[in-house]
Amino acid sequence: MAFAHTVGGTRYVFPDLRTLLARASPFRSGDALAGIAALPEAERVAAQRALADLPLRHFLAEAVVAYEDDDVTRLILDGHDATAFAPVASMTVGQFRDWLLSDAATAQALAALRPGLTPEMVAAVSKIMRIADLIAVAAKCRVVTRFRNTLGLPGTLSVRLQPNDPADDPRGVAASTLDGLLLGAGDAVIGVNPATDNVETTIRLLELLDTIRGRYAIPTQTCVLAHVTTTLAAIARGAPVDLVFQSIGGTEAVNRSFGVSLALLAEAREAALALKRGTLGDNVMYFETGQGSALSADAHHGVDQQTLEARAYAVARAFQPLLVNSVVGFIGPEYLYDGKQIMRAGLEDHFCGKLLGLPMGVDVCYTNHAEADQDDMDALLTLLGVAGVTYVMGVPGADDVMLNYQSTSFHDALAVRAALGKSPAPEFAGWLERMGIGTEATFPPALSPALIGLG
């Protein structure tokens, strides 16, 4: 179906829904690289006005990636709940935006609506929202998940402790982990990206993290962010796996490029559930996503990167994850060029994830070939804190020495918690208190490095 709108005397025509969504997207380098960005600016506002007039029902009639070709589209449309959708079924995208911002859209109303929303509806409304709108609506969403603690409660902001080491040296990982614990990080997960993705390394790191967690009795979960097949092999060999990690995207083809399928993710979830390691809940999956991943795998089907990112969240929500985060600035400047683009994308991702019911975190980050610096990260981190982000990353000194990019530090997380009056997850906050971890920069006896062999 074609759409059209006239701006400044020029009539702009958009042949189908995916083109309309792409042209309505605020500018970012990845959509220009794909050749689908609006040009000139007037075309963007024409697309935004046409999109604002589009009934939400239309998203159930026209898919951006063909139903027959793509299992993510089938997951989205087959799983749509018409009853949950009913309260907004007669709205246009523009009316939906106004409703989201109104007092009628309470936390309860937003939660009840989730199964009735498709990722394309959520992406569409985000394209006609400003940053302030994205923050205001996300802040109303409540998403709580549990494994060994409770994440996402109002007034909390959690941290993934990311103790990566370029050689997967267990002592290096342990040292960074202790540094982070001393600075109050680790309630979301203690999660290592392995430098070498093989079963032996993964098992060695899993055992190390489990030892640290056990020795200090930390109410949190651990994860080695290996490929899902590596984690399945580790489970088969009896390794202590709390969470199954995987990078995912918004089309069947991008997931294939990651070496995964929906069936494989389901199998991995069953395997992790069977271990029964969660004490408070059974959210056992951890997903990472990022705008641009589908284009970089040539798996984008002409759909804009922000809409595809929202579709990745439809994959995530099918597996009831404990944690989901966008790695917003990691994929590079050919997708998000500078601090401005990274900032908007981070807030869009958080908004879309939360509206779809995900425990959404953001890796607030950039690479050295992007036009961004730590000031941009401070701004995005603070805005996400106001928006109620579930968790952010904690990397020693904000410098990941294995992945060669800059994220947020343990210090940054402390600063934003203090500025916004946020606390860690309650079980973890209690542990920090029992251990005597506070503002002192020395190790309390209970957290002595010697207890794990770092004398």
Binding site: D179, N193, T289, N368, H411, L414, A441
Partner: protein, 254 residues
């Protein structure tokens, strides 16, 4: 204020035990970070000293040809990786077909600093080792605003049996000058990263020149015996010889 336990620093190159100024970094640690970021940014934007590099290569017995990708400047290079993978028209004419066994491409990539510092000293170690297995490496092609896959276009133009691309890796704060090497059998423009083998972090403080040169000679020997590169070759190599990142992490454009 009590100092943090600096003992942790013995175990990791990560920025641990930095201390605290309230919830922020102490001034010295803050400025250390700013300095490292400036070095990495400068490495990304540094221009390659082509004359200097060419002179070093001539001293090794190579007579380099200089070519350019279709990315006209650094900004275009950063936002249009597709153009960094394609040869510009003028360059195509400079590459005469000579059917070499192993063409060498030296590309600025994301760190001209890395190429300037490490390409020639690495080749000084690698060329004799390749000669010992009867591989006369060359010709050498210096490529400006080049991505890894530009080597496929160059290799195809030369009629090369294989191509080794030496390229500046994405700079991190701890290492703005990491040199990467990508080896591709039967180079042509449709090759994917899964069809290459990679030796990364070539620099004295990372993978030393001689060690990387040994690895390259081993890979080239196996490549010529089995007539392929990529995942199929990786599987039989020792763990120390890493292939392109294949972890669960989202990929980054090369």
């Amino acid at each position: 204020m009590a100092e943090p336990p600096a003992g942790l620093r013995r175990f990791t190159a990560a920025r641990v035990a930095l201390g605290r100024a309230g919830n922020a970094l102490p001034t010295a640690a803050h400025l250390d970070f700013v300095e490292a970021h400036a070095m990495a940014r400068d490495a990304v934007h540094a221009a390659l000293d082509v004359a200097g590099l060419a002179a070093e290569l001539r001293a090794l017995g190579l007579d380099p040809v200089v070519v350019a990708s279709r990315a006209a400047d650094r900004h275009i290079y950063l936002v249009r990786p597709d153009l960094g993978r394609a040869l510009d028209d003028a360059s195509v004419a400079r590459l005469a077909r000579c059917d070499p066994p192993l063409a060498l491409v030296i590309a600025d990539g994301l760190s001209a600093t890395a190429v300037q510092r490490h390409a020639a000293p690495f080749l000084a170690e690698a060329l004799p080792r390749l000669a010992r297995i009867d591989v006369a490496a060359g010709p050498a092609v210096i490529a400006l605003q080049g991505r890894v896959a530009l080597g496929d276009a160059i290799g195809a133009a030369l009629g090369a049996e294989a191509v080794a691309v030496l390229i500046g890796e994405r700079p991190g704060l701890s290492a703005p000058d990491s040199l990467g090497l990508y080896l591709t059998w039967n180079p042509r423009p449709s090759r994917t990263d899964a069809e290459r083998n990679c030796i990364s972090n070539i620099r004295p403080a990372g993978q030393p020149y001689a060690q990387a040169a040994e690895t390259l000679a081993w890979l080239v020997g196996e490549m010529r015996r089995r007539r392929l590169t990529g995942i199929a070759l990786k599987d039989e190599r020792p763990a120390a010889l890493s292939a392109p990142a294949a972890s669960g992490r989202l990929g980054e454009g090369r």
